[in-house]
Symmetry: C2
Subunit: 548 residues, 2 copies
């Protein structure tokens, strides 16, 4: 059996490695148009930022090592320029020798990845404007940064890679601005969680231009003037475009393979394209989303690698393993913070017509009495009746990735908020609390679903009915340090004795710092004859962030 | 409704707090024989070690704060000395006033916890020998440590609390020895994983006496001589006994409540004792183990707190929520390392007649090319046919708690090793690799179950048949640094060209450093006419640890 693979990185090299383990006698050929295979795309920003010091570390395998380990014929610097599905051949061109030749296959795997979007803006092809996808891009950026006089960077696009680039350029001592078209960073996330990180980015001295489109670039006097939609401009020595990627479907389209609505190569659950002898994996494909059933991309290294393994299994053993789809678990370090998501943000669920309830809670990374605990924020969205967990977003410091992973594992297995409540975590003081923040998220959702807690959100506060009473149940000291305007302050511990000060006929919106005391206060009021009582989800802390 | 609760810490205070939120009008009385309620038991060792500096931080709530927040009548320094179930009364005695009185209840909750075992050894009641369970114990130890001339400590029992005490006393500058009766630390774990931590403890300069029983204590010249079973003795200035706890069932037994085989109070799935008006939670109860169905204790703060919440729900709403049982997730920091378990160790599964396959893998805490990655070891046990995950043990540094939590969440929801393989974790270089160590554990188990990889364990190596060929597929440099005696060295990358050097008729046991290259080599051999080929699970690294 002869397998030809187009693309030699996460999806392609992963498929090849597993293929070899499954079939020692197969002939395996990898075509890679770039100079390198098996490189760590995800590490590229960190080498630019000199967090990763050795370039070699990014080259996990080379053509030679892949040959000796996996007995695979790796042809770097060789682009496949066409596929002839009827003849089961590909045409390849070596960029070093300029040789063009055909190669036959029994089974073909497409793993060409995605390419960075470069919007057709005036001046975008000028000097000093870069995108980052592969090792050559990285080398080019790194060289430019050190070419002398590079002080100011503009990163366009505040997605995962954009933020990593901003941090890394800042780490090198550059003055960094981020320009983002929509009104928040990290567009796949809900606003509140993104806003927490926005504060942090600003606190680090990075300028953040939200709701800001770039209209053109002008190169003059050795610098790039980034023209903004509102007429302003930002002067920069280097510009990084990180406004997303698109699946590389050029070969697939030319070969008549089916591509889909979201722009990716269509595959069935076995990762087989519309041509039964051609499979496809990685950033280039689209796959039904587990929540909506609608096809979409993943653009993530974990799924690409997992698909590679499944694809190899199916190639060798004949469609034996289904790919379950990706819940799009993604995470990013942003300076000292970590933020991530698994599942579909509430705003996107809403767009898809999927009803969901949101709850935001804050908790310590570990026991408060053990040194070094930091607050982290968990925001979950869940189905109103079943309580099925639809997404989780976490922002914080230590232990953020842990909570996200646990939540992802529960989302992936169709778990509910009750599973969060029951989750038996590993507890000792350096690692968690007797009730983990994941448990707390579950308890609170349980209370919402059972009607024991009625919640209201930061976005509702500015449009409350005239006669609503805002009740701050924190201590007077906390109240004095800042609160939502026009709130009455009765500390929760005094509430039982001061019920007569509250109007039983008015709607009451309670808040405290994080939501816990507000809940306690609400329980007291709801059981003391007050019927229209709401607790502010995420408390004053979230409201304040929401003001961002 | 009048609720009386015996014991005011994890289980008791937790039940009371939830009770109040569920029922604002109930009368709630907590009896606590000690001076404090709601203290952080789990923090006690760290205050002794001065990692936690403020004693107040351990007192999460006080009787007064509990009163004002939860309108609960908390009676500290008051021991319940008897229960009269027929009259629905308890007898209480205040240790301050010596007053003895009765208190009636509608529903009673038992949360008396457990008490430390003090084996009836000669001299055990002498000066300088302590157990640690509550704040007074902590104060007594701390005072003694600082009473002058305390240089050498012996900790008896290498369970979770014993190790924490050893670390904390070491942190204070004491010379510490640990004496453990069985042949490993952390008896609930399998040997291999415990052995990793044993190496670490020894490297820190703590003396570890395994397989060593204590037979008596002798106090002379101001020091304690700890007499060992083998006739030796260790001189110490302070001795900490941490040889386990027993459920405090004294009141329950006297009141005629049913207790069980494992020594705990018997409760049904609603946490109700044999008397329908009496519920019980926490360390004092036994509950069917999810794997064996046999009742056993948990002795963990997470389960105690969760039980408290469920118990309150059942008390107020009438047996509405079932407790699912505990998978005994436990973790401990041991100097720079972290180690923990969820589910039942292989050796205990075996004892219970539950067939299971073990697999040990090592992986980086995060991407190897990003600074600071450390190896962690995952050992899983799973069912031979279904692949159901039965336990997971993890030892390492950063990210150990994360993997354990994810594995626990999958075990708890009856997941399989295939769920580990599919697990879509949050990946960016500072947090993980494209394939998380949890995925790798799943892949490897999948390969074992499918017969693609046949494994052999470190304990098998010393009893291999005479004619077995041991094959080291690491590089010659690695081989020279140390290996299993009498192994032939053929690096995996040369194997395909040197197959003729191997005897097709002999059994071949392959090993590499961690298991990966051994697996690759095995795939080559198995598909090249060699039929009896085994890969050493966990590789040389695990074998070396096993020699401990
Ligand atoms: C800077 C950066 C940071 C990232 N960080 C993360 C992260 O932290 N976490 C995460 O999950 N994901 C991250 N990703 C995304 C992740 O790298 C991709 O999802 C993953 O690499 C996709 O794998 P793939 O095999 O589909 O495509 P790629 O890894 O892009 O590989 C495709 C390869 O195919 C080659 N190719 C294309 N066409 C042809 C052709 N016609 N002939 C020959 N060769 C061809 C390309 O040259 C390329 O090398 C990051 C990506 C980038 C660029
Ligand atoms: C040093 C130490 C470290 C620990 N570390 C961890 C850890 O890291 N992780 C973890 O999960 N677990 C840990 N634990 C275990 C955890 O603390 C217990 O599982 C948990 O506290 C059990 O809760 P409980 O309410 O059943 O019992 P307890 O918390 O022990 O509370 C019982 C209370 O009842 C009182 N009482 C008993 N009898 C009477 C009576 N007759 N009248 C009135 N009052 C009475 C006792 O004085 C006691 O205060 C640790 C325990 C200790 C001692
Ligand atoms: C380098 C590369 C080709 C490796 O592919 P790979 O061999 O499948 O992956 P790994 O090295 O992680 O090894 C995993 C295999 O080893 C096995 N393995 C790992 N540890 C093992 C152990 N201790 N014992 C036995 N087997 C082990 C796994 O089971 C798996 O084999 P399987 O798929 O046949 O089950 C591929 O990962 C790659 O190109 N990576 C770089 C590109 C990339 O991913 N970029 C995006 C992220 S930055
Ligand atoms: C102090 C103590 C009485 C607190 O009990 P508690 O009030 O039930 O627990 P918490 O303070 O964690 O609060 C949890 C409650 O607040 C709610 N909550 C937490 N954060 C919230 C938020 N942001 N918004 C709304 N509600 C919130 C939870 O839903 C939960 O309420 P519920 O059980 O009614 O659903 C008890 O935990 C205790 O005694 N602890 C110390 C002893 C101990 O556990 N020792 C062993 C470990 S060291």
């Amino acid at each position: 059996m002869k397998y030809v693979i187009i693309g030699g990185v996460a999806g392609g090299a992963g498929t090849a490695a597993r293929l070899r383990r499954m079939d020692e006698t197969a002939e395996i050929v990898i075509f890679e148009k770039g100079k390198y295979i098996s490189y760590a795309n995800c590490g590229l920003p960190y080498y630019i930022g000199e967090v990763i010091k050795e370039r070699d570390k990014l080259l996990i395998q080379t053509a030679a090592s892949f040959k000796s380990r996996f007995n695979t014929d790796v042809r770097v610097n060789t682009e496949v320029t066409a596929i002839q599905p009827a003849e089961k051949k590909v045409t390849a061109k070596c960029s070093v020798t300029a040789e063009v030749y055909e190669e036959s296959y029994d089974k073909l795997v497409l793993a060409p990845g995605a390419f960075p979007v470069r919007p057709p803006l005036l001046g975008i092809d000028g000097e000093g404007i870069f995108t980052l996808r592969n090792v050559s891009d990285m080398d080019a950026i790194k060289q430019y940064v050190h070419s002398g006089g590079i002080r100011r960077a503009v990163v366009i696009g505040a997605g995962f890679v954009g933020l990593e680039m901003a941090e890394n350029l800042h780490h090198l001592g550059l003055e960094v601005s981020i320009v983002e078209k929509v009104s928040q960073i990290l567009p796949p996330l809900d606003f509140n969680i993104a806003a927490i990180v926005q504060q942090h980015i600003r606190a680090k001295g990075v300028r953040l231009y939200l709701d800001t489109a770039v209209s053109a670039f002008e190169r003059q006097d050795g610098e790039v003037s980034v023209k903004l939609g509102n007429g302003d401009s930002i002067e920069a020595d280097i510009v990084i475009m990180s406004v997303g990627v698109r699946p590389d479907t050029r070969l697939a389209l030319a070969a008549g393979l089916e591509t889909g609505k979201s722009g990716g190569i269509v595959v069935n659950e076995f990762l087989q394209t519309s041509d039964p002898d051609i499979y496809a994996v990685g950033d280039a494909i689209e796959f039904p989303n587990p929540f909506t059933g609608k096809p979409g991309p993943a653009y993530l290294a974990g799924p690409a690698n997992k698909q590679g393994r499944i694809c190899a299994n199916n190639l060798v053993a004949g469609n034996v393993q289904k790919y379950p789809g990706s819940i799009s678990t993604a995470i990013v370090k942003v300076f000292d913070m970590t933020v991530g998501i698994a599942g579909m943000a509430s705003k996107n669920l809403q767009k898809e017509g999927i009803r969901n309830i949101v709850s935001t809670t804050h908790g310590g990374s570990h026991a408060g009495y053990y040194p070094g605990a930091r607050q982290l924020t968990i925001q979950i969205a869940f189905a109103p009746v079943s309580g099925r967990l639809l997404s989780a977003q976490v922002a914080g410091y230590e232990g953020t990735d842990k909570r996200l992973d646990v939540l992802a594992s529960i989302i992936q297995r169709n778990g509910t908020v009750y599973d969060l409540a029951e989750f038996e975590h590993a507890y000792a003081p350096p690692f968690s609390s007797a009730k983990d923040p994941v448990n707390i998220a579950g308890f609170v959702a349980d209370n919402i679903l059972s009607g024991r807690m009625k919640v209201i959100y930061p976005c509702d506060i500015s449009r409350l009915e005239e006669d609503t009473l805002l009740l701050d149940v924190r201590s007077p000291a906390e109240h004095d340090r800042g609160g939502i305007p026009d709130a009455l302050n009765i500390p929760v511990d005094e509430l039982r004795d001061r019920l007569h000060q509250l109007p039983a006929d008015r709607k009451i919106v309670i808040y405290c710092q994080v939501g816990l005391r507000g809940y306690l206060a609400q329980r007291i009021l709801m059981q003391s004859g007050f019927s229209r009582v709401y607790n502010l989800s995420g408390g004053y802390r979230l409201w304040e962030i929401y003001q961002e």
